[in-house]
Each structure stands twice: as C-alpha cells, then as structure tokens.
C-alpha cells in the first residue's frame, strides 16, 4: 500500500470510532428535539413592481401604499411589539429583516430576530455579509454556559453581565431576557463595533405587523412566526409560518415569486398555479440511508395581478397519516386577507 492508501484507510478507521450520535443529541437542549418550525419558502425575484396588495377573497383593490402601523386599514392583523433596537450601527447598515414569534406561538426558540446589512439582499433574499443581527431570547435559553465553555470572555453591557467572542456579544438585559448581537462568524465586525452596538441597544416602541390575516387554517394549526424581509417597500416579502408536528405550512405575500408548473386554477378570481411534488430525503451525502421518508410539497401560488403574489405552501411526510390536502391549501388561500397598507417603511433604513 502506498501512503495515500494507508492514510485513506486510517481515516476510515478513525471515522468508525465516532460516538453514537444519540449521545450528542441527548446533550442538546430539549427544545431542539421536540419542537419543529415550518419549512420556509424563499420567494425568488422576478419583478420589483410597485407595492400591490390585495384582499384575496375580494375584488382586486388599488395598489396599496406602505404606511406606518397607525394607518392599518385591515382589522385583525397580528402585530408584535419590537422590544429592542440598536441606536448605533456601522455606517451603511440598513435593516432588511424582522422576524418574531407570534403571541400565540408555542414554539420554543428565539423570540425576535432583526438583521441589518450593508448591501442589498440578493434575489434569493439570503443575508449577505457583512451583517449585524439582534436576537431577543429568553434568559432560560441562556447560552452562557456554552459560550463560556467555548472560550468566550465576560463583558459589561451598561451594567449588565455579558459574554463576548470574536463575532457575538450576549448579555442579559433583564433577568428573563437575553440579547445577542452577532456578526458573521467567518468575517466578524471589529470587537469594538460589536460592543458599541450592544451598548447602544435601547427599548424599541415600533411593532412588527403582519401583512396577512389568516382567516382559516386546518384544525390543529396555529400561526407561530412572522418573518418580513426585503430591500425596500417596493421589494419585500412577508411570511407566516404555521408548523404542526411533522407538517408545516407557510403563507406568504410578496413582490417575488418562483413560478412552478402545475394545475391552473382560479382563486377568488385570480389566476393561480397548484403544484404537488416530493423530495426524497434518503441520502446523507455519505451514502448512508438516513430516512425512508418522502417530503410531500403542495404549493399554491396566486398571482394577485398587482405585482404581488400569495403563496401557500404545505409540506408533510409521506409515511404519516397527518397530511395537508390540496383542498386545505386552496381553502387557506381563499381565506387569506392581504393588508392593503403593509407596514414596510422600515425596510432599507
């Protein structure tokens, strides 16, 4: 055997010494094993049309104009108070995303998440470097033990105890609330900037307001999380995640869409496309079969004919009796009401 063969075989022997993954899983916080959040749909760019919103069940309305929360024209929209904001950021940073658990959420995860970037979000709306995020989470998710174990050092944030590493500052701003300011792990902001951002954080009295109202969901489903992102009031998306066990629903409105082939329908007078597909999830990349399940994906896209698109997406596993039917997806769309005055002024600021 040559040296390459010897090393390659030794590596494979070493691989076999790996501990049982269940040992690692068992040591993770409980919330990672019981709670599931919905698969998400990232809507792709096709147009940066003028803002147009529509009440799906009703006739086409005039294109809406982004407006502050006080101008909400649609009753019953869910709003979430934004609790904190940084009052200082490096030059050129603009807010691109706000996400929050809804008041009714039973999910056990970070409560709020806001993102600022220097450059505009690309067409796929993924966050580009450099960025800064502010995360609000419960202090019982206190990562102190893990952060300190990973070599972080203590810092003081306006008299409150905090911990810092090369790309994150975390601190308990109140006894039951922890904040994290994070920059890219592989291209972090300077330590001084991260600390300055953290020390500039103050209470925020703004609110995150859903651009959708879901008037019907299948039994057992409840809206859990709201995510809005984009570059400006003319280029945005707003999504509500509605997970339920192994099923996941998301309902989204925005100026971007990915078209798929499928059954052509009319939903409340608007042209729509319904596609049903599956993604076999059986290979973990090493040739090992890890799951015999197939994820069934039902997606309904409604062209609201004013530059915005409503997308209802449901996924479920093929080997369960818990499914989301085609009829359910259509009924959700028929009973979704879009805010004619979505509050988006904060995007890009």
């Amino acid at each position: 055997m040559n040296i390459d063969d010897l090393v390659r075989d030794a590596v494979r022997r070493q691989e076999m010494l790996a501990v049982d993954p269940e040992h690692v899983r068992a040591a993770l916080p409980v919330r990672t094993t019981h709670r599931r959040r919905g698969r998400t749909v990232l809507v792709m760019a096709t147009a940066a049309a003028a803002i147009a919103a529509v009440t799906v069940p009703a006739v086409l309305q005039d294109p809406p104009v982004a407006s502050p929360p006080a101008a909400a024209a649609l009753a019953g929209l869910t709003t979430v108070p934004l609790r904190y904001e940084p009052t200082w950021l490096p030059g050129g940073m603009a807010e691109r995303e706000r996400a929050a658990l809804l008041p009714t959420s039973s999910l056990d995860m970070e409560a709020q998440h806001r993102t600022w970037t220097k450059s505009a979000l690309p067409d796929d709306l993924k966050t580009p470097d450099p960025f800064v995020t502010l995360t609000v989470t419960r202090a019982d998710h206190d990562p102190r033990e893990h952060l300190l174990a990973a070599g972080q050092h203590p810092v003081d944030i306006n008299g409150r105890p905090g911990w810092s590493d090369s790309h994150t500052v975390a601190w308990t701003i109140t006894d039951d609330t922890m904040l994290l300011v994070t920059s890219p792990e592989l291209a972090p902001l300077p330590d001084a900037d991260l600390l300055r951002i953290a020390r500039s954080v103050r209470p925020d009295h703004d609110r995150l307001r859903a651009a959708l109202r879901l008037d019907w969901l299948p039994a057992g489903f409840e809206a859990q999380r709201l995510d809005q992102r984009g570059n400006s009031p003319a280029e945005w998306q707003s999504r509500i995640d509605v997970p339920n066990g192994h099923r996941a629903l998301s309902v989204q409105i925005g100026t971007r869409v990915t078209r798929q082939p499928g059954e052509r329908l009319t939903v409340n007078g608007h042209p729509a496309t319904l596609s049903i597909g599956d993604d076999t999830d059986s290979d973990d990349g090493t040739g090992d079969v890890v799951s015999p399940n197939t994820v069934v994906d039902v997606t309904l896209t409604v062209d609201l004919e004013n530059g915005t698109y409503l997308t209802v997406r449901a996924t479920h596993l093929s080997n369960t009796t818990e499914t989301v039917s085609r009829a359910d997806v259509i009924k959700i769309a028929e009973n979704t009401v879009v805010d004619p005055h979505p509050y988006l002024d904060w995007l890009g600021r």
């Binding site: 055997m1 040559n2 040296i3 010897l6 090393v7 390659r8 030794a10 590596v11 070493q14 691989e15 010494l17 790996a18 501990v19 993954p21 040992h23 690692v24 899983r25 993770l28 916080p29 990672t32 094993t33 709670r35 959040r37 919905g38 698969r39 998400t40 749909v41 990232l42 792709m44 760019a45 996400a99 067409d123 796929d124 709306l125 993924k126 966050t127 995020t133 995360t135 989470t137 990562p143 893990h146 174990a149 990973a150 070599g151 994070t182 792990e185 592989l186 990915t258 078209r259 798929q260 082939p261 597909g277 993604d279 973990d284 990349g285 090493t286 090992d288 890890v290 799951s291 997606t299």
Partner: protein, 179 residues
C-alpha cells in the same frame, strides 16, 4: 420537471429547520468531527458546542447556500481555537505506543497493524496538519477548499500536507509500506 425563474430552482429554496438538520445530518457531522479532531470524545464535545451555537443562529444559517458546510466550518474553527488546541494535544499517544510497532516482523496481521499505526501516527501530528490530512482524505477537498476552511493560503495547506505525510513516511517502517 421543475420550472425555473432566473437562476433559481425550487429545490434550492427549501430551508431546513434546525431539528431537521440534526435529525438527518447529526451522524455525518459527528463522523466528520471525529476525523477532523482525531479524537472521538473531543469530537463529541465540539459537535455539541457547535450545534448549540448553530441553533441560536439558525435563522441566519438556514438561509445560507450550504448550511451544513457552514456548520462544518464551525467545527474546524472550534477545533483550531486556542482552547481546543490545548485539548487536541492531549490526543498524543506515548512514544512507546508507536515504537511497539517498529521493527515488527511481517505476519498475517500486518495490514491491520499498519492501519492502526498510521492512525496513531496521524494523532501525533500538529492539529493543523492533522486537520488538513483529514479534510483531504476524508472530504476529498482541494488545497483551495482546505485553505478556506483553515483560514490559510493554499501554499500553507500544501506545506501542512507535505510535512504531515513526510512525518508519516519517516515514522513508518520502510519494509511495511511502499511509500
């Protein structure tokens, strides 16, 4: 057939939540960490730490093109951090463990012994040489890809690989390997 708009395909738009990632990728991630660190217990420790941190940032990570690659980079970074470098040195085996294998007379178990010897010799390499070898022979990464993971130039990667393999050649009994 999938309908495409621009450069995007629906299959690329699915983001995996943290629970799904752990459910489907944990085994591969633990094996990866075991090879990169060359220490199963250190790998377990690092994997746990990395996943806890990844969980807190999953809203960001899930939107990356390759969340798993990002988590793997976190594993490598954690392994090469100052605190872990100290722990990694504890992998070193006593010299006599190596020397027991030298001067060995050929018999039917040589092949197995060679593999075990090479595994032990790799454990003696400095962490970055060890990681470079793991990434090359386990992940089949190029010099450029390894350099990106280790945060160094490709020339440095070549140096790690060259010096690491040279150390293995020197330590292996010449009659045991046609190297």
């Amino acid at each position: 057939m999938r309908f495409r708009i621009g450069l995007f395909d629906l299959s690329q738009e699915l983001s995996v939540n943290f629970e799904e990632f752990v459910a489907t990728r944990l085994g591969a991630l633990v094996r990866y960490a075991t090879v990169v660190t060359w220490d199963a217990h250190l790998a377990e420790d690092i994997t746990q730490d990395v996943l806890v941190r990844a969980q807190a940032r999953w809203a960001r990570i899930e939107r990356l093109d390759a969340p798993e690659q990002y988590v793997k980079r976190m594993v490598v970074n954690e392994f090469l951090s100052w605190r872990r470098r100290r722990a990694a040195r504890l992998v070193l085996l006593p010299a006599e463990s190596i020397e027991e294998h030298t001067g060995h007379l050929a018999d039917g178990t040589d092949a197995v012994d060679d593999l075990d010897l090479v595994r032990r010799l790799i454990a003696r390499l400095p962490p970055k040489q060890r990681a470079a070898i793991a990434l090359r022979y386990y992940e089949d990464l190029t010099d450029e890809q390894i350099g990106e993971l280790l945060g160094c130039r490709t020339g440095t990667v070549r140096s790690y690989l060259s010096r690491g393999l040279a150390a293995l050649r020197e330590a292996l009994p010449s009659e045991r390997a046609s190297i």
